[in-house]
């Protein structure tokens, strides 16, 4: 009977001129084949990229695959998330995806987790040989990135123990564009090293939204930011509802409000589709781009696990809109990266700025984007975003000037929910 792993077998059973240190399998010693069958891989996300990743890894010889996703299936997923059918709408993605793969591909043992990545700690993550992400969220990427860094053990000379380094492959897509990257935490550029590559979402100045709307997007944000706050259209008992972008009643209310405002101002172009797009920050997505990026991610996972060829070092950009454009390069690791850096990040600021102003700068800086930091100085809390008790105790410091609180050259230790697993040290220099 022909070997099911015939195609993979050809590659792991022969040597490549591009991988001089790879020892091919023999029938007596199928060490790579055995490793593929026994190692554990984690896929984060069971959506557009996740479905592809599950299929790809299961058809590359991997058997023990875990998948995490906290979402349920929506109709708009069906144009690309091919493990789901119309009758699956509402069910958890991870569960349905795992079932489909285990049924279709013999030997596959996919274990689903319908929960958030934050629900697990290092005892869960350390069991995996490689972690591959098909996420649609920067905060989630930052979180897992900081978790993997925090899991690394260092010796007395600050050298990382290679056995505690888990490679992370990360993919992202938008329309016809996408990117694949390979992260070896503390050895190569991590998510935080390249944070400026992910600019924050587009918002419009509040005065434009409030007083001088000109384009349909202004009218839509008026409805979602100003009108909703003012009119509190939906209540649940005593609680005023926050906008639930998956609730069609909420979306319809926003659409009609936006349309009315647009009509009053002679502004064309408010449609239900645009309203959804702005409020939900919808990114266009198609099967083909997801296939490309997920496949290149899976290819990297395969090469990392088998050593049959060199690994991507470390970023491939892809754009299929005008011709086919790919660009592969090494993104440089930052010495002073707040997550994986060895030297401390310097921060220059005037001593006259208040603590509150400083904290705003932490949020606005494209390299930091820290939205809810808690700061300690000399072991004592300077400002705590949470819990409420500590917030009350420290909030008075917000109005004080930095010069009154610390001296130039001081080190402040920060934590932030986006990087809850690492403590960041900033060296403050007064200018």
């Amino acid at each position: 009977m022909q070997d099911k792993l015939y195609h993979v077998g050809k590659i792991i059973g022969t040597s490549s001129p591009f991988a001089s240190d790879f020892l091919p399998d023999s029938t007596q010693q199928p060490k790579t084949r055995n490793f593929l069958a026994s190692c554990k891989i984690l896929i984060i996300g069971a959506g557009g990229l996740g479905c592809e990743l599950l299929k790809n890894l299961a058809l590359s010889g991997f058997q023990n695959i875990n998948v995490i996703d906290m979402d349920t299936i929506d109709v708009s997923n069906l144009n690309r998330q091919f493990l789901f059918r119309p009758q699956d709408v509402g069910k958890p993605k991870a569960v349905v995806a795992a079932e489909f793969i285990n049924k279709r591909i013999s030997g596959a043992k996919v274990v689903p987790h319908y929960c958030k990545i934050q629900d697990f700690d290092r005892t869960f993550y350390k069991q995996f040989s490689v972690i591959v992400c098909g996420l649609d969220s920067i905060p989630a990427r930052r979180w897992i990135n900081s978790m993997l860094i925090e899991m690394i053990d260092f010796d007395n000379e600050n050298n990382p123990d290679p056995d505690t380094i888990i490679p992370m492959v990360d993919g992202g897509t938008e329309g016809f564009k996408g990117q694949t990257r390979v992260i070896l935490p503390t050895l190569s550029a991590c998510i935080e090293c390249s944070l400026e590559m992910f600019p924050p979402q587009k918002t419009y100045p509040i005065c434009t939204i409030a007083s001088t709307p000109r384009i349909p997007e202004h009218c839509i944000q008026w409805a979602s930011i100003i009108a909703w706050e003012k009119e509190k259209p939906f209540v649940h008992g005593d609680n005023v509802c926050k906008i639930d972008t998956d609730n069609p009643e909420h979306m319809l209310w926003l659409f009609e409000k936006a349309k009315k405002r647009a009509e009053e101002n002679n502004i064309p172009g408010v449609t239900y589709r645009l309203t959804q797009g702005v409020v939900k920050n919808i990114i266009p997505a198609i099967a083909s781009t997801n296939a490309v990026i997920a496949a290149s991610c899976s290819n990297e996972v395969f090469k990392i696990a088998t050593n049959t060829a060199p690994t991507l070092n470390n970023w491939m950009m892809y754009n299929g809109a005008q011709g086919i454009y790919t660009y592969t390069y090494e993104y440089a690791k930052k010495d002073d990266c707040i997550a994986c850096g060895t030297s401390k990040r310097n921060f220059e600021i005037s001593s006259l700025q208040t603590l509150e102003q400083f904290i705003q700068l932490l949020a606005d800086d494209p390299n930091l984007q820290l939205k809810k930091p808690s700061l300690t100085y000399d072991g004592k809390p300077l400002f705590m975003s949470a819990p409420p008790g500590l917030y009350e105790q420290t909030k008075d410091n917000l109005n004080k000037s930095l010069g009154d609180l610390i001296t130039s050259g001081s080190e402040i230790v920060l934590t932030d929910p986006s990087l809850e697993n690492v403590a960041i040290t900033l060296k403050i220099n007064f200018i």
């Binding site: 993979v8 591009f18 109709v75 069906l78 101002n265 099967a287 296939a291 011709g323």
Partner: protein
């Protein structure tokens, strides 16, 4: 469109719109080779809702297939691969019509060529070279686009043969701004002149749109400079200072915007190269009763350009958002919209007189309007016959040792040698014994290179060895990657939006690099 479909296809409609979707849904695709690559490619077309597909393959599902092909199952081993994969692909989208033909593609190509000419696009993922060449001739004569994908271990190639493909909207990353700052049309001039820059109150002054500010500024500049525009660096700096000086206070956002955008005032609209090519094309110059809609409208655009347009294409009609109050901005938008409509009407009249004089059916205003809006983004791609590549006695593309993409281009030549080897030896190089096959493969490659007048050592030895040791292995990850790229190209071909590959691409999964190039 029915709400179910709108919801389901929402994420893709935001890219190619209802118009593009309609073209997908009326397409009939043929795939030859229900292997991993072919089925992955088709998956990415079934999901977004192509009209129908037909799978042509006469193999039986093997155990090896169950290891790399998602659209077969273990209990389907021994059954018709075409039937099994077609069924599991159909299951992805109930709106798509699935068909299969369990016959030998070589036989069909030799004996029933008319089978192939009823498809919109033909995709080949597994076919011997001789039959491929025959098929390519038939398709070229019938003006049917051909998409060819080949994988071998970590490397793969994509080749498109488009006899004549028209792009109706290239959808560039940064769309052109058509603001007419230094050649304002009458209504725009009137609007600008209606502003009393010196007299109006402060809060009005700080809401004058920068577009208006720049028209005024550049008009005044020209008066002071003999009608010329800023050209040298000192002149450009002077102009920017001139604009800045028009502000009353340093806080006025609109004047800051104007200063930052002042270069827009001395940009002169140019006829894009792609559009110029179309205007000079034989099919534009000579309209006949057989002329397509495309050429009739292009000609109408050309006639507009050289007369009413005064050497400028129809006004696009949209303006970017800019600091202003609602009333002024909306008024400005309306002025631009109105002028764009006037230009469109002139083009439309040209179209109407052509269709009338040639006794052809009318073309809808919507279609013409779309052409006017996208007149800067029209393109024509034309490829020669595939046979020209296979019989070529000159180099397909330039290649020397210093080429940035040496390995990718060398892999393309190597993959050509793989299919040539298959014709001669009826197996992949290295399929059974890589060591024994290596010298045979090297010989095949050498003759191929000599035929095309390449130096025989242009393909690095590592490349030759890598292809031979791969033994024709079809890795799922590589098949899936190419399935994505290939499907994306088919979508661009069907919708006439975005720009298709012109005309060859290599993916190197060893280094995760890609390269595209044109084969003449």
């Amino acid at each position: 469109m029915a709400t179910d479909k709108t919801k389901r296809y929402d994420r893709q409609l935001r890219l190619w719109g209802e118009e593009g979707q309609e073209k997908l849904e009326t397409s009939k695709l043929l795939l030859i080779g229900a292997n991993a690559t072919g089925t992955e490619l088709l998956k990415n077309l079934v999901l977004p809702g192509i009209g129908s597909f037909t799978l042509l393959d006469n193999k039986k599902v093997s155990a090896a297939d169950t290891g790399n092909n998602f659209f077969v199952t273990t209990d389907s081993i021994g059954q018709s691969r075409a039937a099994v994969t077609s069924n599991l692909l159909q299951e992805l989208n109930e709106l798509v019509s699935a068909n299969f033909v369990d016959e030998d593609p070589e036989k069909l190509i030799a004996e029933t060529p008319e089978f192939f000419t009823k498809f919109t696009v033909v995709i080949v993922c597994e076919l011997n070279e001789n039959s491929l060449r025959k098929l390519a001739e038939q398709l070229y004569n019938a003006q049917i686009p051909l998409v060819i994908v080949q994988t071998c271990g970590f490397v793969a190639s994509l080749r498109l043969v488009l006899r004549e493909h028209t792009v109706l909207d290239s959808k560039p990353e940064t769309p052109l701004e058509d603001l007419r700052l230094n050649a304002p049309f009458v209504e725009l001039s009137d609007f600008v002149n209606s502003f009393d820059f010196d007299g109006i109150p402060a809060n009005q002054h700080s809401h004058i749109p920068y577009l208006v500010i720049l028209v005024k500024a550049i008009t005044e500049w020209r008066k002071k400079h003999n009608g010329t525009l800023p050209q040298t660096r000192p002149e450009k700096t002077e102009f920017q200072n001139f604009v800045r000086a028009m502000a009353r206070t340093p806080d006025e956002e609109n004047f800051k915007e104007a200063a930052a955008s002042c270069f827009k005032a001395y940009v002169i609209p140019r006829l894009p190269y792609n559009t110029a090519e179309l205007f000079e094309h034989e099919k534009c110059k000579n309209l006949t009763p057989n002329s397509s809609r495309f050429w009739i409208i292009v000609r109408a655009l050309k006639d507009f350009y050289y007369s009413d347009g005064q050497n400028i294409l129809p006004l696009i009609g949209t303006i970017p958002d800019m600091h202003s109050d609602t009333e002024k901005f909306v008024k400005l938008q309306q002025i631009f919209h109105h002028k764009a409509t006037q230009d469109f009407e002139r083009v439309f009249n040209n179209v109407k007189s052509t269709t009338t004089s040639l006794n052809l059916p009318e073309i809808s205003p919507e279609v013409v309007k779309s052409f006017c809006k996208n007149s800067n983004y029209l393109q024509l791609l034309s490829n020669k016959r595939l046979e020209d590549e296979y019989t070529s006695t000159t180099q397909l593309f330039e290649l020397d040792n210093s080429d940035d993409n040496l390995h990718e281009k060398a892999f393309y030549l190597g993959l050509r040698a793989v299919t040539r080897f298959q014709v001669e030896y009826k197996r992949y190089p290295g399929e059974n014994d890589p060591n024994a096959d290596l010298p045979l493969f090297q010989n095949v490659l050498r003759s191929l290179l000599q035929q095309m007048q390449y130096p025989v050592d242009i393909v690095p030895e590592q490349i030759v060895q890598e292809l031979c040791r791969s033994g024709g292995a079809e890795l799922h990850n590589i098949a899936s990657f190419m399935g994505g790229v290939g499907a994306q190209e088919v979508i661009k071909i069907l919708t006439n939006q975005y720009i298709p590959l012109n005309n060859a691409f290599i993916y190197n999964g060893l280094t995760s690099t890609g390269s595209n190039f044109n084969i003449q």
